[in-house]
């Protein structure tokens, strides 16, 4: 037995805007019989460019029907730009929340809205973006990545709740974990290839690093630094402000400025004061 909110039950038992607008301006279809739920959304724009009417047909469980009903209520009166910003979380919140295993119902609503807007704008049927990861439900890496990013998902189970991926045979679980890791930045980064910088790249990078990383720190102590020239791997600088008269300036130069530049630009750099 699912723990549905009263609002979900209300929208399931008394769904709003069931139907199909024959002279629609936009239409979006998502899901399939095989997946167990599907939604066909149509909308009609008013003379003011806002959504004057929206209707849905849904095959699916109570929360799929309720999510569709909620979506049509939410988008009526919106401009397409506003409707495009409706997230799956907005739909779930409108319903007072959905059981986590049913979040994919709200994602389905969001996806149908996007497709319907794309149809209206003549962007046509978007090709499925990315590579299929979950064969059972036809979910791509891009879809998983997006769900992870937008909803802060951290486990395979959560990914299944939101986009169904991994809910069938389970063979794709390793791939889903890898996508989660990469998206959240937990994956071991591939070792950087030490591409040799051209002179102009090197100078730009040194200048940017000085501006962004080093100057603010020196400024805090009333000091400053100015890039004079770059000769091969020799970085020639002038210290200013309090730094110019500070007896620890050589220490600052070697242990702070040079270390930073070695770390962020190139390990071969040597900093010299002129």
């Amino acid at each position: 037995m699912w723990d549905y909110t009263d609002k979900v039950k209300d929208h399931f038992l008394h769904p709003r805007n069931v139907g199909f607008i024959d002279n629609f301006d936009g239409i979006g279809e998502v899901g399939s019989l095989a997946c167990g739920d599907a939604l066909k959304l149509t909308f009609k724009l008013g003379p003011d460019g806002r959504i004057a009417d929206a209707k849905f047909q849904t095959f699916g469980c109570a929360s799929a029907i309720a999510s569709s009903s909620a979506l049509t209520e939410m988008i009526k009166g919106m401009t397409l730009d506003e409707a495009a910003k409706v997230t799956n979380e907005d739909i779930a919140n409108y319903l007072g929340g959905l059981p986590k295993e049913k979040m994919h119902c709200s994602v389905m609503g969001r996806d149908a809205m996007e497709k319907a807007i794309a149809y209206y704008r003549g962007e046509g049927e978007k090709k499925i973006d990315g590579e299929i990861v979950c064969e059972c439900f036809g979910v791509t890496d891009k879809q998983i990545e997006r769900a992870v990013k937008e909803n802060g998902l951290t486990t395979i189970e959560e990914v299944t709740d939101y986009v169904k991926a991994g809910g069938g045979c389970g063979h794709c679980h390793d791939k889903i974990q890898a996508i989660i890791d990469t998206t959240l930045g937990n994956a071991p980064k591939p070792p950087k290839k030490a591409e040799p910088l051209t002179n102009i790249q090197k100078i730009k990078l040194i200048d940017a690093t000085l501006e962004r990383e080093i100057k603010p720190a020196l400024n805090q102590d009333g000091g400053d630094i100015e890039l004079v020239d770059v000769d091969g791997n020799r970085v020639l600088v002038k210290l200013r402000g309090t730094c110019a008269s500070c007896n620890k300036s050589q220490l600052t130069l070697k242990h702070y400025v040079e270390a930073k530049l070695k770390d962020l630009v190139s390990p071969d750099l040597v900093v010299e004061e002129v």
Binding site: W2, F12, L13, P15, V18, F20, E29, L33, A34, C35, G36, D37, A38, L39, K40, Q57, T58, F59, G60, C61, A62, S63, A64, I65, E101, K102, C136, F137, T160, K164, G167, G168
Partner: protein, 392 residues
Amino acid sequence: MDAPIYMDNNATTRVAPEVLEAMLPYFSDLYGNPSSMHTFGGQVGQKIDAARAHVARLLGAFPEEILFTSCGTESDSTAIYAAIRSNPDRKHIVTTRVEHPAVKNLVEHLGKNGYQVTFVPVDRQGRLDLDVLYDSLSDDTAIVSVMWANNETGTIFPVEEIARNVRDRGIVFHTDAVQAVGKIPINMANSAVNMLSLSGHKLHAPKGIGVLYIRKGTRFSPFLMGGHQERGRRAGTENTASIIGMGRAAELAMAGMEVENSRVKALRDKLEAELLKRVPNSMVNGDPENRLPNTTSIAFEYVEGEAILLLMDQYGICASSGSACTSGSLEPSHVLRAMGVPFTAAHGSIRFSLSVYNTAEEVDRVIEKLPPIIDRLRQMSPFWHEAQKSGK
């Protein structure tokens, strides 16, 4: 909400009033431990023996072949582990693709731990491919476990025939008969079945009591170890009240078998025929010939099961569904998928399972209420509109 119309008896049954009445003294006055030496406890032991005899009669077995457990799942696990522990050199298990999770998940687990498993497929009617079963048998096979009747479709399998062939190969045969016992006649006297599981709460005894039948001469190894209860085959102080209830339920099942196969069957047949007549694009899942008398699984195309159940719930009608959404998994039931039921139908499959407590009025009410529910959901379903357009 209306008074419940309970048609989900393959999930669980109500405790028969006679069963409850028989049990009550064992919660109050007769609280002794059946293992005690004193008369106060010992008298409970005698009542347990009587209950054991009732269960034995229901199965055509000897009382010493009856082992009380805590549930059907424990009986299944006990049987399968007993077989593989008694045959440590054999590393092959045969079962079907449509077993209850109590067997399916255990065997899948063993499959990941050194056992080779053959899952026998079924056809579109849910009938087993016996050639695959027999061809898979070898000297390495430790056990064959085939359910007597399927919980979702009610399809009855030719268990006696399979058991004979398996016995002739010198292999242990177990059957999960949880759905069959009490609904169809079962007689272990002339059978080749080695072990049989049953569950009390499927036949009007309470939840928390199961039975494992173990044919004399079958090599056995206990699942729970400890005390000497159940002649050392299942340790743990007896669940006395429930065992007494189980015995009474077995008596009632024997007496009620004819009602089950006449009146209950007639109610089921009427329910099924009327629903098929009144709802277009509906069909029965499973073998119409060999089927439990109380069960019908009906697929309503282009709608989804959870939505049907929740709308029926408004009228107090209790049934269950093979759809994905009801189980929390995302795929429809493994039984319907194994049968190759198309997705158009699998998601909208509803199982009605009746009992002796159902009435003709209840059946009429379901026949009245369900067709408009299906129609209402179809009016919402994009696939229904597409199917109508294409004239299906």
